[in-house]
């Protein structure tokens, strides 16, 4: 079976763990328990007749004083960059995360999750400008989470 390593990267508390929990276990928790180090979750899926397994790396978020260890980046086929739509600083740091990752993984694919969309009002959502490979997601309300992962999976596999 084909196995692919994909990462979730971004600032702390943007919802990386929650997106994975929603995608893999279809659950959500309102409380915040920060991730330290890394935890791998496995998810099998069938894409256009190909069965494969995603190894989803939930990596600790970057904080003002701790950056993400680069040793986690090796061998990744793709990454989901996550920001919190309500914290502009997490949107601003996306580019830095993307550039560092792509520098170490030239071939890798990526998508972006603008998470916690449930906290935005409709006019706020309309005002938001999203890049082409970005999704407005909510781990809480389960919106766009499946699409986020399968879009990346397709890019990585097909």
């Amino acid at each position: 079976m084909i196995r692919k390593k994909i990462l979730l990267l971004g600032d702390f508390s943007v919802g990386k763990t929650s997106l994975i929990r929603r995608y893999v276990d279809n659950s959500f928790d309102d409380s915040y328990l920060t991730t330290i180090g890394v935890k791998i979750s496995q998810k099998r899926l069938e894409l256009e007749g190909i069965s494969c397994e995603l190894l989803i790396w939930d990596i600790e978020g970057a904080t003002p004083t701790r950056s993400i260890p680069h040793s986690y980046f090796k061998g990744a086929s793709g990454a989901i960059f996550v920001c919190d739509v309500n914290r502009s600083e997490t949107i601003e740091s996306l580019n830095e995360h993307i550039n560092t990752f792509l520098m170490l993984n030239h071939e890798a694919k990526h998508v972006i999750a603008y998470n916690k969309a449930d906290l935005l009002s409709t006019p706020q959502k309309e005002e938001l400008f999203l890049p082409a490979n970005a999704f407005l997601t909510s781990a809480k309300l389960d919106s766009n989470v499946e699409r986020l992962f399968t879009t990346l999976a397709k890019e990585v596999l097909l």
């Binding site: 702390f12 508390s13 180090g37 190894l55 701790r66 260890p69 090796k74 061998g75 990744a76 086929s77």
Partner: protein, 387 residues
């Protein structure tokens, strides 16, 4: 070889390291018993190691280089496995075997996690508070030793600074912008503690208020007033201008030597009204008194509540003689008016004209002297000071 086995067994019994032996195809050849707690089940000979350590997916080739180079830089830190945290490293054993070591770092990682949790939560709280603070009015924190400790975004924006260092460098000493001459923030604090004072900086007017925070910080709040709200300008009881508003206006008039007459007036024996009829009646008398005066002055004249039963009147662009005629009319109106519940009351007046080059302190001093004289010479009269 036997001693090596003893050493290895000792290390393994300490519950710190567990291992898996793999062949060149990364198939399991052997494993320590304790490894089951990390992997969830016991790997069997011939199993694919990736089924137990999916962490290695993507790094297979790198791990395999160990059979060529006899060493490998592969290492992965703080991996969560089945309620434990481990570091994973790969070592060379022989040309057909590599050893994958799992180093238990759970206790250490959990305490680090606690610190990280605390720090992340504080950062979130701090950044939320920062946003709240930046959206307030302009704020300035000054320490007891007169050091500017903090200014929020709005404050910096008003005064064209980007960083707190720039605020400090600019020597933007708020206290120098008041009409009263103040020497430091301590004095500004005394003046504005739980009170409002108007302050002019450039062409802008601000209301300044001070609060003491934890007895070491003085917090100054500046509210920009482009067009003053009625509330900010007017005394709530009488509707006359507030002292703080008057101060900033009068300072301007003095600076520009505007031709004007200052009248200081005081209701005679008002204390007895309060004592005899109570404060509620006293308040109504003040309202009536203010209404009488407002009815008898021009729009451009400024009527101010100075404190208690003391009021000011500034009559612009008028001579002292003309002003006196007008004030005399007001005096008579008051003396003949029947105040509800209280009956007849009188008022005393001191008046002076602003002289060339005269400052605010001086004109107030002269006006006060005139009022004092009016009170001393039997009340219900006007005293005009020519010099």
């Amino acid at each position: 070889m036997r001693t090596l086995q003893v050493i290895l067994n000792t290390i393994l019994s300490k519950n710190i390291f567990e291992y898996l032996l793999v062949d060149r195809a990364l198939r399991v050849t052997s494993a320590s018993y304790g490894i089951e707690k990390y992997l969830g089940s016991m790997p069997q000979e011939g199993d694919d190691v990736l089924d137990y350590l999916p962490e290695l997916v993507g790094s297979e080739e790198e791990v395999k280089t160990i059979f060529l180079k006899k060493f490998c830089l592969y290492s992965l830190e703080s991996v969560y496995k089945n309620d434990y945290y481990v570091n994973i490293t790969v070592e060379y054993c022989d040309e057909n075997t590599a050893i994958i070591l799992l180093h238990n770092i759970t206790a250490n990682t959990l305490s680090k996690q606690k610190v990280l949790q605390y720090s992340n939560e504080s950062t979130l709280l701090y950044s939320t508070l920062q946003k709240v603070v930046d959206n307030q009015n302009a704020l300035l924190f000054v320490t007891n030793s007169e050091k500017i400790e903090f200014a929020n975004k709005k404050f910096m924006h008003y005064f064209g600074a980007e960083t707190i260092e720039q605020v400090r460098k600019k020597e933007l000493n708020l206290y120098q912008n008041l009409d009263k001459k103040l020497k430091n923030y301590d004095e500004l604090f005394e003046l504005t503690n739980d009170k409002e004072e108007h302050i002019r900086i450039g062409s802008d007017t601000f209301i300044v208020q001070a609060t003491l925070i934890e007895s070491i910080y003085k917090l100054f709040t500046l509210t920009k007033v482009t067009t003053l709200s009625n509330e900010a300008m007017r005394d709530s009881l009488t509707g006359a201008y507030r002292k703080s508003y008057f101060n900033s206006k009068f300072e301007m008039m003095v600076a520009e030597s505007t031709m004007c007459v200052l009248v200081v007036m005081d209701l005679d024996d008002f204390k007895q009204v309060n004592d005899h009829y109570g404060h509620q009646v006293g308040d109504r008398v003040l309202q009536e008194f203010a209404r009488l005066i407002e009815k008898n002055i021009r729009k451009g004249d400024m009527f101010v509540r100075w404190g208690g039963e003391e009021f000011l009147l500034v009559l612009q662009h008028t001579s002292l003689a003309d002003a006196k005629v007008k004030v005399e009319r007001i005096r008579q109106k008051i003396a003949s008016y029947v105040f509800p519940e209280v009956g007849h009351l009188t008022a005393s007046f001191g008046m002076v004209a602003l002289q060339d080059e005269e400052d605010a302190d001086s004109i107030f001093f002269r006006a006060d002297k005139a009022l004092y004289q009016a009170k001393a010479t039997g009340k219900n009269c006007i005293v005009v000071k020519e010099d």
